[in-house]
């Protein structure tokens, strides 16, 4: 999906992708008005290429996080003019107006791979270590105690807990206890 205000640039980008064949433009938005945000939410694009200028001036600094509310797809900045460097932070990749077709394709591929690796780690079941930590949490143990039990740093325990919540969809300690019980990880 492309989010590019200038029609000529958007069409040019599309024709480069068409001539190479590997990527296909699913849709083009000229800006992020309210209606377009909704279309973005329902889009099934694997990648988004956006000219930072498509965002309102105020939102440009947080463009990436604003988009994350609507899509999981990696977002690549298309730099068409000289921009404040701050506006380019946070994007998964930056494409320059003068990049050759092969460079563009390479950058698109790179952004896609990084995202896939992250997602794979997310979608799996709880690991053995995560189950152990979940049981300890359900028993009412504090992060520090858990860290000592398993010889981990508190920081690692917190990361495990974040992953547990992400995988199970459950955040509160009381909720995790019920989860552990329903899955026969603990006896009540």
């Amino acid at each position: 999906m492309l989010i590019i205000p200038a029609t000529m640039v958007a069409r040019g980008f599309e024709s480069i992708l068409n001539s190479v064949g590997e990527f296909q433009v699913t849709s083009i938005l000229s800006d992020l008005s309210h209606n377009n945000e909704v279309r973005l939410r329902f889009s099934d694009a694997d990648l988004i290429v956006m000219d930072p200028q498509a965002m309102d001036f105020n939102d440009r600094k947080n463009a990436k996080s604003a988009l994350q509310a609507y899509t999981d797809a990696p977002v690549i900045a298309l730099q068409t003019t000289v921009l404040n460097e701050e506006y380019l932070k946070g994007y998964d990749e930056i494409i320059n107006l003068y990049d050759s077709p092969s460079t563009i394709i390479r950058k698109l591929r790179a952004a896609l791979t990084v995202k896939h690796e992250v997602q794979q780690a997310e979608s799996e079941e709880l690991s053995a270590r995560e189950k152990e930590i979940l049981v300890a949490v359900a028993q009412g143990k504090q992060n520090k105690e858990i860290a000592d039990m398993f010889n981990l740093s508190v920081y690692t325990v917190i990361t495990h807990r974040k992953n547990i919540s992400k995988k199970t969809g459950i955040r509160s300690v009381a909720g995790l206890t019920v989860y552990a019980m329903l899955n026969n990880l603990i006896e009540v």
Binding site: I170, S172, G175, L182
Partner: protein, 234 residues
């Protein structure tokens, strides 16, 4: 009709048109004691009959309709704190007297085929949640609302201030979201599918309504009262 006209501050929209555009607004109409049978009248007329401030009604409708709407200072200056409190109070009654009771019944039926252990674990979780929400409501009813009454009459305050409310404003949505996920993802297979769907829709409904409720507290009430505490009522 565009949304901009729909919420026009002159209140010329028909009540029926307003509800048709965004059905959940029906909750607000009921809670402010407005008459739904007056659908053919304009919002201004219905508000007038119910003694509700038009601008405050429209503001609540906008918060309810747009997730990212934040009122300007100009709008906040015109808000009727009395009507906001009326709305919040009626919402509390609805949650405690209807929504939570329905949910409770639904969960009870749903869990019937489960083992005693499973039943008691989920039930305990639900009761803790429901107690926590009710405590939260009674705190507002007993501490916050009387304070707002005094503030609106221009009386001296009793040492309370809205910042204490903000501190006390705990986050109970996390547990409701957990309940939803426990039921959607991890319920034993013996449970009835229809009852499961019913319970899940009740939770979604309550969750959305509570979200708006919190936004009305944060974006309108806290903001307005902060301004009154600072500058006095104009």
């Amino acid at each position: 009709m565009t949304h901009k006209d729909l919420f026009a501050s002159n209140g010329k929209t028909l009540l029926a048109d307003l509800i048709e555009q965004n059905f959940p607004l029906i909750n607000i109409v009921g809670r402010l004691g407005m008459d739904l049978r007056m659908g053919r009248y304009t919002v201004a007329e219905v508000c007038d009959k119910a003694g509700v401030d038009l601008e405050t009604f429209m503001l609540i409708c906008k918060i309810y309709t747009y997730d990212d709407f934040v009122p300007t200072d100009n709008l906040l200056d015109k808000v009727s704190v009395k009507d906001i409190v009326k709305y919040l109070h009626a919402s509390h009654q609805y949650y405690a007297g209807t929504a939570l009771v329905q949910l409770e019944e639904s969960i009870e039926n749903l869990l019937r085929p489960c083992s005693e252990k499973q039943k008691s674990a989920i039930w305990k979780f639900y009761s803790e949640y429901s107690d926590e929400v009710r405590r939260h409501f009674s705190y507002e009813e007993e501490q916050l609302f009387p304070y707002l009454d005094m503030l609106c009459c221009g009386k001296e305050n009793n040492g309370y201030s809205i910042s204490q409310f903000e501190e006390h404003h705990s986050n109970v949505d996390e547990k409701l979201a957990d309940l939803k996920n426990l039921i959607m993802r991890y319920l034993p297979e013996e449970c009835d599918n229809n009852l499961c769907m019913q319970t899940i829709s009740l939770i979604f409904h309550l969750e959305t309504d509570l979200l708006h409720h919190t936004r009305i507290e944060d974006e309108i009430l806290v903001a307005v009262v902060n301004r009154i505490e600072k500058n006095g009522r104009k």
